[in-house]
Amino acid sequence: MSVELGHFALVLALALALVQSAAPLMGARIGSLPLMRVGEPVAITGFALVAAAFAALVLAYVQSDFSVLNVWENSHSAKPLLFKITGAWGNHEGSMLLWVLILALFGALVAAFGRNLPPTLKANVLAVQGLIASAFLLFILFTSNPFNRLQPAPIEGRDLNPILQDIGLAIHPPLLYLGYVGFSISFSFAVAALIEGRIDAAWARWVRPWTLAAWAFLTGGIAMGSYWAYYELGWGGFWFWDPVENASFLPWLSGTALLHSAIVMEKRSALKIWTVLLAILTFSLSLLGTFLVRSGVLTSVHTFASDPTRGVFILAILVFFIGGALALFAVRAAALAPGGLFHPISREGALVLNNLLLTTAAATVLVGTLYPLLIEALTGEKISVGAPFFNLTFVPLFLPLLVAVPFGPLLAWKRGDLLAAAQRLQIAFAAAALSGIVSYFLMDRASAFAALGLALGLWLIFGALTDLCLKIGIGKVPPSVALGRLAGLPLSMFGTALAHAGLGLTALGVVAVTTLEAESILTMRPGQVAEIGGYSLTFENLRPFTGPNYTEDRAVFAVTGEGGASLGEIVSSKRFYAARGMPTTEAGIRTFGLSQLYVSIGDETASGLVVRIWWKPLVTLIWLGALVMMVGGAVSLFDRRLRVGVPARRKLAVAAAGEGA
């Protein structure tokens, strides 16, 4: 019964979404306030209905209702409760429902909290959101309905893919979608601005928090996915340049560019047209990612052609929204008056460089991801574009960006002084260079590349610290005054410093693990010892174990550090999930400081158990850095200056600053 209610709620949500896309738009056009106001309650109710549908699906999973096709295909009665719940979005239909749920959530948030928005802007934004929701609700109801019943109902389900039976599935897709779909708000604001033909600095101030939130979620989502693949897939890689990964990385790259160009627009009223275009492109890349992942086109153009219903539907959505928005942009962009002037060497100029490098990197990844599809569609030949290509093209584009990051915040608006900024960064540069040189001579395995990379990561971190130190005047004013200024510093400045330092941490981790990693592949018998990274691993035994819905062979290794001190054990196992007849490896991972020992086991052979051991120095920094970036985004988000309608505090702060000067 609840399944039918969920299905019905989804249909109602579609009806409301259609109202939401028509009424406010019409109201804004004819200037009718009551009609414009329709968007708000409709958006909130629509969200409640999609939430009810989603709850109904989760309930069906929790109750193991195998009369629902989707539940039968992806669940099993013996599955632990957590994985029954997360299994609801561990499949195509459920994940699309989650996508729409988050879309509706963002629409409802704009409706509920956008009190200070001009009524026409708000009406247009909600209308565009409604239009996107209508398209995807139609897609779900016509091609990907999770509520289809099965008659007669089977007694047992086919279980969820074992790889997905992991806490990662509980966190990764929701975070990722919060990011992906969050950019729909920037998109809707951009389209609304184009419809009105009017855009100003206040627009950027409204858009920035949404972009920032989406960006922070996407950062977390990608990092979580990376760590999940790292520990779950059993070969210790953290990034594979897989098309699916690229699909999530593309909106991140252009979203990062958007975040920065929106700053220029808010502060200096410049780069308006470019910011609007980026807002459109960022969500377009999210849509493209959804298309690539959901249509099956990635496996092969032919797979796509043999079952095109879903793919063609999403492609149509894609063409409608991207094409429509870009057409609107082409017609209206010229009407947006250009804003403030600036010299190339200035904060604005630095942010333009940031945008140039980020969009070029995004274009490179995009073309690399789509090129095999294009070649196959045009010539029928198959080529591969994989990690070696991306490493060769993406990294050289990203390195100059990393080098330039610390300069940005130190340059003045309008006209900056590069030499002065460089002088103020002297200490950071010297400290980073010295660390690089010392590490080169200290570590016997270190290559020049590793030393350079470490110096680069530290340069970002020290650069971010320098920015904060200069802002509070350390060295120029007494410590007590500096401390007072630190407390009074706007949160967004901490956010910037944190995000840039986080980038440095991630860079450090990537460099350390790619250049200094040690690996050992060997066969071991019980009692044998393997030495790696200064640790000794003694293979103790291989023993069977039975879990709730799997059986496994667990290999136990005793770990000892330098001097023979016992550091406990590492357990690595090979699992077998009977319901799907699928094996998985569960890597054994131990963290020491910021580094990790990573053990995965293979088959038993005549000469012993095949074991692959990695020493991964500083590997955790890759994800900790992303976490710091995410925190930076969140801290920025709580800056009062970003919230519209708090003039009282602002005036006081300005007055205080005036007194201080």
Binding site: T364, I383, G386, P388, P583
Partner: protein, 155 residues
């Protein structure tokens, strides 16, 4: 996030084919560490053709194993890196290369970063020049007069 990313649907297919276990087996490895290191680097550039975007170094598939052994045989026979790749391509086609070759067909692919950087740079430069020119244009005679008036008033 590889296959586990938003591409949940793709996951099952991939792993059913390739399996997640240890890829390179100890018995395949060459005794000479320098040759083995070359074999590993080359393996990372070759695609396991029955997998989705996985190198033969990462894949547990039978075919990947055969290719790894083949690469090592060629290296032991004295082939250079380029010769090994040529040999594998001659047998399996360019599909096997994870880094496509520089060829007219792949021109757009390889040129994208440079073209974008150059094009974007030129656009930014032109925008600066156009706007900059406007900014530095002198005041008109009327503006000069208005300015003088204001300054005189202040004195």
């Amino acid at each position: 996030m590889k296959r586990a990313g938003a591409g949940l649907a793709a996951v099952g297919l991939l792993l059913a084919l390739c399996g997640p276990a240890v890829a390179v087996q100890p018995d395949e490895m060459l005794a000479d560490p320098a040759l083995e290191a070359r074999a590993r680097d080359l393996s990372a550039e070759l695609r396991c053709m029955v997998c989705q975007n996985q190198s033969i170094d990462d894949s547990d598939a039978e075919l990947a194993r055969d290719l790894r052994v083949l690469v090592r045989e060629r290296i032991e026979a004295g082939d250079s890196d380029a010769e090994v790749l040529d040999y594998v391509v001659s047998r399996y086609g360019e599909f096997v290369l994870l880094k496509p070759r520089f060829s007219p067909r792949n021109a757009v692919l390889w040129a994208t970063p440079a073209l974008f950087l150059l094009g974007g740079g030129i656009l930014a430069f032109l925008a600066f020049r156009r706007r900059g020119g406007k900014a530095t244009a002198g005041l008109s005679a009327e503006e000069e007069a208005a300015l003088r008036k204001v300054l005189e008033r202040n004195e």
